[in-house]
Symmetry: C2
Subunit: 529 residues, 2 copies
């Protein structure tokens, strides 16, 4: 592995000049082998696992060399870079976080300021699905910032949120999102989603524009996919979520699974950002997780962010990062009408300007308040234009697969049971075909339904795997052989096989034996029994 | 709602005496309505949503009144308590975090030091499934701390980890876990799990003891359940995971779903803990999330934790918190043999002492090193005893449900289609029965399989819901009516209905019409069409 394949982490530390080299070495050990140096002797471990201190430099703020991770801590005195083998990230976001900052997050004088990924590691992350261009297409707005607002406060009637959303859309707003506090049970969430959608779509029908509504998705992880499925089924194109509350890998998984714009709210981010630099959190990490629009406190607002920090966040959202799409900066947290020109000048056209209280309270009629802000933004970008919004997304349609007597289905093809390419180490099988029925064709179910048929004298592989099986007999008669049992399976018999149960299906008759098999969509590859 | 039903949050802030009341009020607004006070006029919002400042006091460290959230930040000057309606937490961990510290995490001078939950809110959390007593039963060890170690470093052959695990078990260790860096792909994880299990079980067979092996589960969320399923199928009783890396609600969801001991590693916790007090994070929050064993840096180790902080973590893990079980403190991070007596004295018997490098490097033979530590611990608790370990857990067995011609299954009963209690607002239906076949009986599948039968002239509710349906025709002939289509369903026909598709199944024949229905286990309740 060459040096070009290494991850480079930059830490800002507080230390004396005498001790900084020792601290840097401790970081490299702590983050990889977590053993005293005397116990790290295995050459493979030393070569492939142990981190390497690359550079140490002192910080000189007087010369403009300010730490990237300012905050309330005592100022860092040195910058240390440590490199790690790219393999150590395993292509997984949790492990990347663990590798870069896991244990040393507990060192009081060490903050993670920045990191860079080699192309092979960056390529493991999908990043923003929509990014700048995708959201431009959905809104139709080109050449100026988007105007956004939030439905708040919690505690109003649903009709009131729908009214606010509709008036904002009528007044020329581009994106209205729920407040991050509008947490509700599923029934209330469903009602708010459908009614606010109707209000915004009704307004769009009058204006000819493409204002978007992004509901807040905040729910226990067990039901969060259901919330996303509702959002998509309702025809909405994005959501607000709180990456630091949900966990960055939860966001990545949701981004991978659901084709919606992710707007990341900064709730709880201050926890992470006291140990890491703000541009790293709101820029690089949120983008790696798949956030399309990163909301962060504007320097003009009430959170005391430095203008330099906000600029660095914006830069990180657009900077080269593997092949990842650039994401939108979304300054928020106290923007006022009179600050619009300055914000437009600082952030440029590719920005979402999120205005809450100042817009809601600007004029007796919310539509007028929205128009005032929208015109102020438009005035800064006279060449902007509004194209037709690209709202095309074919709705999911029911699928009907009529059965044919030879146990084929219209709309699906039989395929081989297994292929050598897929399973290098396949236990023997004979005379089996499969028909993938549901789950591999873009459906939102977590389940795959397949039909398998074993010809006379044939059998499946004798194997086991961690994912459970459900089997329903469908044709003829076969034998299900498990670890310590053998049963005959006839049509409509049902069997459940728990994780790691060894099993094989055998046909000892003269007629074909067929069965439906239901498995989790995300599953492991079989092991020989 | 009475004051006894309110959540009380304690913030430690840095402020001047003149400004602290204003800061306290800003916290109460920021965390609930996030609007300027002039815009918060709705009486329902003021009464039920807006936070209330309860107390403000100055901190006087000279009088022993030290902040709970020390760290590298400038010392707090005041303690502020703000109360929130318990309803605002929605019984959900993400929302509790959002409510307590979401936006103000970004206030540089505000740290969350502590909180208390009213009984109704605490009751929404299950907390540790095993806790002190559960892990005592699994190990059989009573009246002394447990001795734990870690398999490390990353980069060794699997056989080497298995050797370490087996020798530790032979030497009298109680719990061996993977290092938090032993991240692997699923095949390598499976191999390590099975081989280390075999090594530990082999040693247990020789010693008659109940040493436990906890593999690290670190994986993208899509496949993390699969990892837990393997752990359980392998007969293992616990895992190591990193709550701050995965996200606290991910940990809660995993604790709810999987019947294993959760050992929480501190990786990345320093991020959270710079904004929150360490006892709150390692004690209260980890326990709320379901962590049974909370690993944190011991004051004697290399992370510079104060002894007072470690004591406060231990207290929080055992303090009354609704009906939640107490959890184990697990000090780690540099414990040495000579520190054992002091650690035993400080933490008491209900402690897991995690010794890594010092144990692995103590003697040429790991078994001897382990014995030295085990004897040192035992010497501090002469009255300890080792009962037979409670290793009984019936393995999951295959389930076979033979079909009977009247479309009943041996082992399952027919039940009503719907009951008024379950659905207050049920659209009309007629002549339908259901048989729950798989998914409601403790199986690990994410899927429920049911059989429905509609009698001649009957029909199901015309309804829609967000979760998708898969249908397989099984008996007779019926009509599937969707939003804009109607098809005839005969045996073995397959249909997939996407989210929110309106549907009804009707039987217009003279014979029963039956079908299998496959749905996600976690799903929403139907809406009238």
């Amino acid at each position: 592995m060459s040096d070009a394949d290494r991850i480079l982490a930059t830490y800002e530390v507080r230390s004396t000049p005498d001790e900084v080299a020792g601290l840097a070495r401790r970081i490299a050990y702590e983050q990889t082998v977590e053993l005293p140096p005397a116990l790290v002797t295995d050459p493979v471990v030393c070569e492939r696992v142990l981190g390497r201190v690359e550079t140490i430099s002192s910080l000189d703020p007087a010369a403009g060399d300010e730490p990237l991770s300012p905050g309330t801590t005592a100022a860092a005195s040195h910058r240390v870079t440590v490199s790690y083998s790219g393999e150590l990230a395993n292509g997984q976001l949790p492990q990347l976080l663990n590798l870069l900052y896991g244990n040393v997050s507990l060192y009081p004088d060490v903050r993670l300021a920045d990191f860079s990924l080699p192309p092979a590691v960056a390529a493991e992350f999908a990043g923003p699905r929509f990014g700048i261009e995708g959201l431009r297409r959905l809104t139709g707005v080109r050449g100026r910032p988007l105007l956004a607002t939030a439905l708040k406060p919690r505690g109003l009637e649903v009709a009131e949120y729908a009214r606010i959303a509709g008036e904002f859309a009528l007044g020329g707003g581009d994106l209205v999102k729920d407040d991050q506090n509008l947490v509700a049970d599923f029934a209330e969430f469903r009602e708010r989603v459908l009614r606010c959608r109707d209000a915004v779509e009704g307004a769009n029908a009058r204006t000819g524009r493409g204002c978007l509504y992004f509901p807040l998705v905040s729910a226990p992880l067990e039901s969060i996919d259901l919330h996303f499925d509702l959002v998509r089924a309702a025809g909405l194109r994005g959501v607000l979520l709180c990456p630091a509350v949900l966990g960055l890998d939860a966001v990545r998984a949701l981004a991978a699974r659901h084709r919606v714009v992710l707007m990341g709210h900064p709730s709880l981010t201050g926890g992470l950002a006291r140990g890491m630099s703000l541009p790293l959190v709101f820029g690089t990490l949120f983008r790696l997780a798949g956030v399309d629009v990163s909301v962060f406190p504007d320097a003009r607002g009430r959170f005391g962010f430095a203008a330099r920090t906000c600029g660095a966040i914006r830069e990180r959202l657009a900077a080269p990062l593997g092949e990842l799409a650039p994401a939108w900066p979304c300054p928020a947290g106290g923007l006022q009408l009179d600050g619009i020109e300055a914000a437009c000048a600082e952030y440029g056209a590719d920005t979402v300007l999120l205005v809450g209280g100042a817009l809601l309270g600007h004029a007796p009629r919310l539509e007028d308040g929205t128009r005032a802000f929208a015109e102020r933004i438009a005035g800064c970008f006279p060449a902007h234009r509004v194209d037709p919004a690209d709202r095309e997304e074919p709705p999911a349609e029911p699928v009907f697969l009529p059965f044919r007597p030879e146990f084929e289905w219209d709309g699906r093809e039989s395929s081989p049971y297994k292929t050598a390419a897929a399973d290098a180490d396949i236990p023997p099988f004979r005379g089996v075909r499969r028909v993938e029925l549901v789950g591999r064709f873009g459906e939102t179910t977590r389940t795959d339904l397949r039909y398998f048929e074993v010809e006379a004298g044939g059998h499946t592989s004798r194997e086991r795997h961690v994912h459970p099986h459900i089997i329903i007999g469908a044709r003829g008669e076969g034998r299900l052989v498990t670890g310590n049992r053998e049963v005959v399976v006839r049509p409509n018999d049902v069997a459940y096989l728990p994780p790691l149960e060894t099993h094989q299906l055998r046909n000892e008759t003269e007629e074909p034996f067929g069965f439906f098999c239901i498995v989790d969509h995300d599953r492991d590859r079989p092991l020989p029994a």
